[in-house]
Amino acid sequence: MTGETGVWLYAVTAAADAAPGFDGLAGVAGEPVRIVTVEPLAALVGSVPLDVFGAQPMSRNLEDLDWLAATARAHDAVVSAAVRRAPSAPLRLATVFLDDERVRELLRDRQEDLAAALVLVSGRTEWGVKVYGDRAALSGAIAEARAEPAGKGTGAAYLARRRAQLSAQETVEHDAAQRAEIIHTRLSRRAAAGRRQPTTDPALSGRTDWMVLNGTYLVDDDRADDFAAAVDALGAEYPGIRLELTGPWPPYSFAGVEREPP
């Protein structure tokens, strides 16, 4: 199937914001990015060769980490360029249509949905917060807190401390989960929306740290500093807990149909 192309979707934006086009922007196949419009929406798309991006070749290619990484970064580059210009709803990676007419069909059929997504992400940016727990520090802190009333330097105090240490190890996971929940709640309060993603498999991240929360938040742009300060403050407040802020991200986690209730 030489020469056949499909249409890769990057993002949807308001038609008024898409004009006059994205000159010089290249997509996942190095192709020029173009616009398909059905008022009041526009889709950023590119024509991609089906011998690479067709369903079957693509599922093979996705098994190749280098290919996946390059494609994800190219997709993100176009999406990010769109977001820098105007509120945009990113499409999930590897959304390929048969032709432009199918793209128009999407813009017509899902107009309400997509317009609502654009309203939600307008003036807001996605930020990631990953929370790591230090097992030793956490159980130490718990044990100390529990042993304190017994006084210091006596045999009874030693035994109390020892008992506290052992039970602390048992409850540290429970406590960390509780803290993660509190942190998520407090960050969500400073955001328009927040959601918890599955924690990253250590095999993927290559880190041995213990991830207790992988949260992502849609934050009003004029409250971004406030949000970053809250992340710092939470880190200082909880010994043995480390928070890591990532972003700014295009609103990948908040432009989809399944949205978290406010």
Binding site: A89, T95, E126, L204, R207
Partner: protein
């Protein structure tokens, strides 16, 4: 693994978390037949196996 590689890899995992699991999802009838859920599974499997090959015990990676 040096810290630049490590940072890049974490950034990649963060990015993949978002582009594979987030974004607007389009149903199958108007696009090429690619199952979204399967896609994520495939990719993460690919990641795990490739990452362990790329960044495994042998540090003499050509890249």
């Amino acid at each position: 693994m040096n810290s630049v590689d490590s940072e890049r890899r974490i950034a990649l995992v963060d990015l993949l978390d978002r582009v594979l699991a987030g974004g607007v999802v389009v149903s199958g009838d108007i696009k090429l037949a690619i199952a979204d859920v399967d896609l994520v599974q495939i990719s993460l499997r690919a990641l795990i196996s490739s990452v362990s090959t790329l960044y495994g015990p042998a540090p003499e990676s050509p890249r």
